[in-house]
Amino acid sequence: MSGAGADKTLTEEAFMHMIKLKVNGYVQELVVKPHQTLLEVLRGPLELTGVKEGCGLGECGACTVLMDGKPVNSCLVLALEADGSEILTIEGLARAGGLHYVQKAFVKEGAIQCGFCTPGMVMATVGLLQENPNSSQEEIKEGLRGNLCRCTGYVKIIKAVEAAAEMMREGEQT
């Protein structure tokens, strides 16, 4: 391993790189290989197993995290590309003393069955509602179409998102 440090330009022989990113509010410094994805780094060295892998190809949304506030499939982001960014995963959502309003809504509306799609679905919802708290049902369906669920049939997920939006409008932000 040659000392690549944070300088990534024209270092031809670099096999390992150092990245620095903020994850759930904490600064993390990691040594990563170029081909490692953000998902692998979150689940691996950072042990954030709440972020799930469903397909690895950006088709199912189970690995959704917020990257600089935007929902992305972490399986299709190289760890190196996340250098300098702020990542929020499901583990970072609940504040001390309570669940995020989206989490509360998912629990209350029965939108969770096996729960494997839930972290990604919740993060995608947070991204969706942060962008537009007044999303219509059509916009909800469009905004979450990249998150597959095999258990619920989505009916209660839609209810949960609408309930969360309502909570948000009523100022119940945690």
Partner: protein, 755 residues
């Protein structure tokens, strides 16, 4: 009846751990020193193995073990051991693309993958066969050492169908084909396996049936059952895919033994689609005859099930579908013939509905064609032939509670049957009925369950039950039953079910049996625990047992304002009385005496669950697209234990049903799956769902806990035929092959125009 927790839409008890990312699924587990295993699979659908050279793989740095057939016991295995036909690794022949040939264990996934690429296998390709009718031909390549490719055959006969058909005024005869579909659980199938120094094998895996899988592992490895322990984690979906072991488990066990390290093996998503087990595709010939007044008088069905390359639950699905075939509408003269035919493809296994969705598609769509012939409204035809409660059918099924009429009327009303049947442009509505088991069945000689409750010294209640929760909420149902009976709060109940060393023997979560079977056992345990609680309370509070009230986690005496907590009660029991509080429960489903399959081949089902779905569709006749506008699903629950969860089961099933009807199907080229990802194997997204209305019909089953029966599978059974019938109403075309993709609609419309 008003209950305190039964019937309420309470959030599942595991919701919070799931919504925070805290819940640990098998894929999230790591053990110290764990190695990563991977399997080399056959790239050919049918071939002889000439030689395998693993030397280069063994030399790769980071590889701890490489195994082939010579390193494993070659006991043949199947779920039904008398049909055993598969070995852990192939020794002489491979029989489908994906068949396990070799395996490696290495320090990480990358090294394991690289090692696989260094294994050299020399194959001699053999002619392969991919369709059942071709495989049944005399000249077809033989897949196993048998005279023909028919692996299983079953026949059922009641009444005299041949004579009865002669008495019919209207007859329909048709051929249907249902697709080969994949479970698509979000969590892939995976396991970690470890031996300990006493020679015991511990397996962490996502399984719906830990006790029977334990037997299977023991059998295939040739070790005593007592040496196997299975620990289940939170499951990321099941739907039947996690009932019978696949070769990952014994392969991991052997790698672990060889290396002395725990070994993890995980399916990739590609493997999940292209090599894992699927729903059985059925080719169905069905003939139905009716009298002038619409009475269904005779029905005959021949099913050819595509077994794939090896046996699994196929015989059971044929048997079960024959039972449902015989029960719905109580037709007096029926004949059923089922065959399982080997093909060089992925094997089939259990999948929600278990043969019933396949035959329901055929039977319920044919009924609409028949109704059309008679000139009768399809709803009317079905109402005339509806099953009744407390009825024994001609084929011997003992129906207790039955809400079929109510389901039909509710579903029809909610879709607007009267007005919408007239059709408007290319819009139409369709209806389909179903019957399913609401409690599994005594299929394998056993249908019982045990449960155990203890009151801890801190006043919380622990329930030990073998009920497996794969997301459907089994644990919450069990906890609600305990909460209702003992008057404790849901959050004070701890449910443990995940260790075969701890839990009583159970067949597992399948056949919609958990609520009824395990629920009854839990209710029994709760009642027995309550007896002990009341004995202690009456002594502690100096009151007569009848005056003791348990409510909200507290103990009261009738007429007094004094209340005590459960922890105070437990403290009294242990420290003053010197005896702990617990309760054991059991439920055994009794078969009628003198039962033989000849007398009644659905007699071993404790209770039946009826349901009806209606669908409204709109067809784009230029593109062939079918838009489902609304689905109404009216299903009996007996008693709904948890409304949110019952609705959730139905909604999830309906959407799977929409996928089954319109989108899903594995496509093969020369035996290899070419749509091995979510890109080209389409399942419904949130953008694809119609309006779904769920109606829960409560028929108060006489034997279910609080009157409940199962709801896990019924929701999937009538969806495809309801949609196909709606298409028939909208455009006058009946598509008889699933999935109903635009090409088929366009072709049928073209043919109709031409004729």
């Amino acid at each position: 009846m008003t209950w305190k927790v039964i019937g309420k839409g309470l959030p599942k008890i595991d919701s919070i751990s799931k919504v925070t990312g805290e819940a640990q699924y098998t894929v999230d587990l790591k053990l110290p020193g764990m190695l990563y295993g991977n399997i080399l699979r056959s790239p050919l659908p049918h071939a002889k193995i000439k030689s395998i050279d693993t030397s280069r793989a063994e030399e790769l740095q980071g590889v701890h073990a490489v195994i082939t057939a010579k390193d494993v016991p070659l006991n043949k295995f199947s779920f039904f051991q008398w049909l055993a036909d598969k070995t852990i690794l192939c020794s002489d022949k491979v029989r489908y693309v994906g068949d396990e040939v070799a395996a490696v264990a290495a320090v990480d996934e990358e090294t394991a993958l690289e090692a696989l690429s260094l294994i050299n296998v020399e194959y001699e390709p053999l002619p392969a066969v991919f369709d059942v009718e071709g495989a049944m031909n005399p000249g077809a390549p033989l897949i196993h050492d048998k005279e023909k490719n028919i692996g299983f055959h079953v026949e059922r006969l009641f009444g005299d169908p041949d004579k009865a058909f002669e008495e019919c005024d209207y007859i329909c005869e048709d051929r249907y084909v249902t697709g080969q579909v994949s479970h698509c659980c979000l969590e892939v199938s995976n396991c970690i396996v470890k031996w300990d120094s006493s020679g015991r094998l511990t397996i962490w895996t996502n399984t719906q049936a830990p006790h029977t899988q334990r037997q299977e592992i023991a059998r295939i490895l040739g070790i005593p059952i007592r040496n196997v322990r299975i620990i289940n984690s939170t499951m990321g979906g099941g739907f039947g895919s996690k009932l019978v072991i696949d070769m990952k488990l014994p392969i991991a066990a052997i790698l672990s033994k060889k290396t002395g390290c725990p070994v993890r093996i995980e399916n990739s998503r590609v493997e999940e689609f292209s090599t894992a087990k699927t729903r059985y595709s059925y080719t169905i010939y069905v003939k139905t005859g009716a009298k002038k007044d619409g009475r269904l008088w005779a029905r005959e069905m021949k099913v050819i099930g595509d077994n794939g390359a090896y046996h699994d639950k196929g015989p059971a699905t044929l048997n079960f579908s024959s039972m449902m075939f015989g029960t719905l509408y109580n037709i007096p003269n029926i004949r059923y013939e089922g065959n399982l035919v080997y093909t060089n493809k992925q094997m089939g296994t259990a999948f929600r509905g278990f043969g019933n969705p396949q035959i329901a598609f055929a039977c319920e769509t044919q009924l609409d064609v028949l109704a059309n012939k008679i000139g009768m409204d399809p709803l009317e035809l079905r109402l005339r032939n509806a099953n009744q409660p407390d009825q024994m059918t001609f084929c011997g099924a003992e129906i207790t509670s039955c809400g079929m009429k109510e389901c039909m009327e509710a579903a029809a009303r909610a879709i607007g049957w009267e007005e919408k049947r007239r059709g408007k442009g290319l819009r139409g509505v369709g209806l389909a009925n179903m019957v399913h088991t609401g409690a599994g069945g005594r299929f394998y000689g056993y249908n019982a369950a045990d449960a155990f409750i203890k009151l801890s010294d801190d006043g919380t209640v622990t329930l030990i039950t073998p009920a497996q929760d794969m997301g459907q909420g089994a644990h919450t149902v069990m906890a609600q039953i305990v909460a209702e009976e003992l008057g404790v709060n849901l959050e004070d109940i701890n449910v443990i079910s995940n260790d075969t060393d701890l839990t009583p023997y159970d067949l597992g979560s399948w056949g919609s049996r958990t609520t009824f079977m395990n629920g009854n056992a839990v209710l029994d345990a709760a009642r027995n625990t309550k007896k002990e609680i009341i004995t202690v309370a009456s002594e502690m509070l100096e009151a007569i047992p009848d005056d003791i009230i348990l409510e909200g986690g507290r103990v009261f005496v009738k007429g007094s304002s004094d209340q005590y907590s459960f922890s105070e009660l437990a403290d009294y029991a242990i420290n003053r009385r010197g005896v702990p509080i617990s309760g054991k429960g059991r439920f055994v489903d009794k078969l009628p005496s003198g039962y033989t399959i000849k007398e009644g081949f659905a007699k071993n089902i404790p209770t039946f669950a009826f349901g009806t779905q209606t669908a409204e569709v709109e067809i784009d006749e230029e593109t062939g697209e079918v838009k489902v506008l609304k689905v109404v699903a009216a299903h009996e629950t007996g008693t709904t234990i948890n409304t949110l969860m019952a609705e959730g089961q139905i909604e999830g099933s309906v959407v799977q049903g929409i996928g089954y009807a319109l989108m899903e199907g594995l496509t093969l080229k020369n035996g290899k799956v070419i749509n091995d990802g979510f890109l080209d194997y389409k399942i419904p997204t949130i953008g694809d769902i119609p309006e779904i209305e769920t109606i829960l019909i409560e028929t108060n089953d006489p034997h279910g806990p609080f009157g409940a029966k199962g709801i896990g599978e019924p929701g999937l059974v009538p969806t495809a035929p309801a949609i196909a019938n709606a298409i028939f109403n909208a455009a006058g075309i009946m598509i008889k092959e699933l999935p109903i993709i635009p090409e088929k609609i366009l072709k049928a419309l073209k043919e109709k125009k031409g004729s």
